[in-house]
Symmetry: C2
Subunit: 499 residues, 2 copies
Amino acid sequence: MTDLFLQFKEKLIELYYLSSALAVLHWDREVNMPKKGVLARAQTTAALAGVLHEKLLSIKPFLLPLKSNLDDGKLDEEASIIVREVWREFEKAEKLSTDFVKELARVTSEAHATWAEARTKSDFAKFAPHLHKIVELKREEAKLLGYKDSPYNALLDTFEPYATAEEMSITLEELKDFLIPFIQKIKNSSVKVDRNILKGEFPIEEQVKFNRFVAEKMGYDLGAGRIDVSTHPFTIQFHPQDVRFTTRYDKADVFPALMATIHEAGHALYEQGILVENFGTPFGESISLGIHESQSRSWENLIGRSKPFWTYLYPELQKEFPEPFAETSLDNFYRALNCVEPSFIRVEADEVTYNLHIILRFEIEKELVEGSIEVDDLPKIWNDKFKEYFGLEVPDDSLGVLQDVHWSGGSIGYFPTYTLGNLYSAQFYSASKRDIPDLEEQIAKGEFTDFLQWLRKNIHIHGKLYTARDLVMNVTGEPLKSKYFIDYLKKKYSEIYKL
Amino acid sequence: MTDLFLQFKEKLIELYYLSSALAVLHWDREVNMPKKGVLARAQTTAALAGVLHEKLLSIKPFLLPLKSNLDDGKLDEEASIIVREVWREFEKAEKLSTDFVKELARVTSEAHATWAEARTKSDFAKFAPHLHKIVELKREEAKLLGYKDSPYNALLDTFEPYATAEEMSITLEELKDFLIPFIQKIKNSSVKVDRNILKGEFPIEEQVKFNRFVAEKMGYDLGAGRIDVSTHPFTIQFHPQDVRFTTRYDKADVFPALMATIHEAGHALYEQGILVENFGTPFGESISLGIHESQSRSWENLIGRSKPFWTYLYPELQKEFPEPFAETSLDNFYRALNCVEPSFIRVEADEVTYNLHIILRFEIEKELVEGSIEVDDLPKIWNDKFKEYFGLEVPDDSLGVLQDVHWSGGSIGYFPTYTLGNLYSAQFYSASKRDIPDLEEQIAKGEFTDFLQWLRKNIHIHGKLYTARDLVMNVTGEPLKSKYFIDYLKKKYSEIYKL
């Protein structure tokens, strides 16, 4: 038994190291790729994805007897969780043929390149045939995996284990019911916030320096990572000792880069907080995308858009960029940073309107997978919904349906995890304030160590020891509730907009 | 038969695409690696190398019947060459166990990181245990592969197919016999060349721009590659459409970067000249390291240190860096660039003394593998030989035995291919001048297209269609002769040094 388990673990560790190679290919594609190399990279990615799939299936002779032991209650707690989680992955993989996996990798790799070009040219028709193929493959994937009620559930489960479309619909409807009138109230407020006071001229080199400074201040270890540039900022881990993220710079505005950096550094801190000795088992992995997003959102919004944070950081920002900040007071700056205004681009949205972007995507991708709408109709459907929720006409598809990278990579069922992240983050942050009574005083002094340690101790170091559900219960004493997030928005924005 | 061959080719193409993934890991390690990620990368590299090894062995059921057909003369020319060349690789791989390959990858990946640190600190003792382990593994590799006469032959053959230590010894002795008195003559010449007139202050950013300009002028396609920075410049191809190289910048001297760029771009042009449709078979691969080096050396030395080349490029250099070049004449500049002076660092050596560096390494690594000297004695042996050949005392090991990356990566038997490259390049260049009578006039006008097309047509597009031996005979009408290289040095340097 022990021998079997050890052999099983050895196979597993090899699998994780090989997965890192796939992650390196992905990172390189996003950060470094020469244009003509894209097609060959798609082939390499597909070949390696195929190998990984085969390797995962090849653990069957070790896994099957262990699964029997698990079902018979014969494994200790650690082994139980490892076998349970690996079984989940294995079962999914077994249901998808190697050819299917390779085809999906190849199609999405090519689609990604076309998407990037289509977005630049705002040319949806260019991307449509690729997306059509991806949707077909994802429907097939759902069928192969099996599902209850909606094929969307099979896809959602790969990003947020145990979540369902029905639950998500309820949560998102609740949020929509709060958000639409709340945003209306803000619109009607006599307080007018001018985001333009944040604009100026910011040499990229100096921005790079400032972003590194902020990430390191948060606790991000540049000796175990890198910060680069890509079209769509992302974080990726090859190992807890090599966790990289990207941002994107705008010469006229420091905040696209800076807020992306704080967000991605939040993700990266989670991955750097995973215990090295657990690499190669589910204990060396994050719980779910929703929990991951709770980390990035805690840093980006709960902290990164708060008054205490900028009490500390604003003088540093003023020192680095006296033009335009020297003449602007902290209060005016804080209001501008938290300006609420319906806008086209999700990743640049304020934290109030943000979740309406998610609701729109969730509704569309669910119907797309269920087959009640078709790819060619997407621009119209997107623009109609956008008008309804945001009151804005989408001027072109690069500001609409083409803006996000996700679908081009086959990530359908991913979007709702962003909103889950927002909900979790507010609930966790409330618990951290309970445990660290002077947290906001610390933050106002630029001291983030206690908060990071709190995240490490309560979340990061456990890997997949707990499910998302259990973790939230353990850490906050309650199941996930939207009330924390809604209360947070109400309090903060009622103050800013004098509602 | 045809079906079998097609299936075999399909397997082979998958193998090549997977090899690209290994190459990406390698490139990333050299260019991007955060310090703490090195150990994990070693594991990932080892795991993937193991997969590749298994995949290569798994073609056996296809390869064996094709090999019988080859031996019976039943294959057409194309298939014959493919099967012959894959058989060579397969046979080697079959003789090395998966565990051996993984161990070698792991050990060299770790050794590389330690070497980089040891070199910085000039601390050979730090690196010695790693090198000791590598030498042991390489001796074992030679034993597993089998060899005639010297175990060094088994290793040399992996870099330069069909070459032997005995041949190399003869060639290198011949060269040594010419070089030592020739260098003495230069030393005794009344002409004194001052390399210091090339020094100045050169902002890295402007150097980067100039290096890109030169590489593109040569014909290097940045849409199918990238130029980055690494400690030891190198070229790597993932596919003919993604061929990357690195250089390294020195603020006080443009030439380390520029000559490395011209050298590496020469390698990269070879790889970009491989036919895309041949990717995945030996026709999509370069012939040998010696032939590869002939390409880089042609561009770096035969062209890149010639009067015609600088007749074109010097005004551009003067425009970009008026300080210090505006006041220096082309003739003085040309002499300074071709200053001959024994020095410590191989990669910075002039083209006359360069091959003495190779001779020293060849003699040492051959004896190391044969077991007649030991790792711990290397600094002393190196420094004694250096004194004998160059008349210089090595001040510390970073300028001596620790300077090269090769041994840390397990590349023993690699060095002599550099000298082969020099010999080939002179013989090829002579043939190109025969075929393009106004070649040097073209070069003096900055026109490199005819020369590149000549290389493409005669060398690049053939992949492994010919062996090195056949290629030289086809292209130049003669077997490899050292006379072309010796004549080239004699003519050029007799003129410069008025011998």
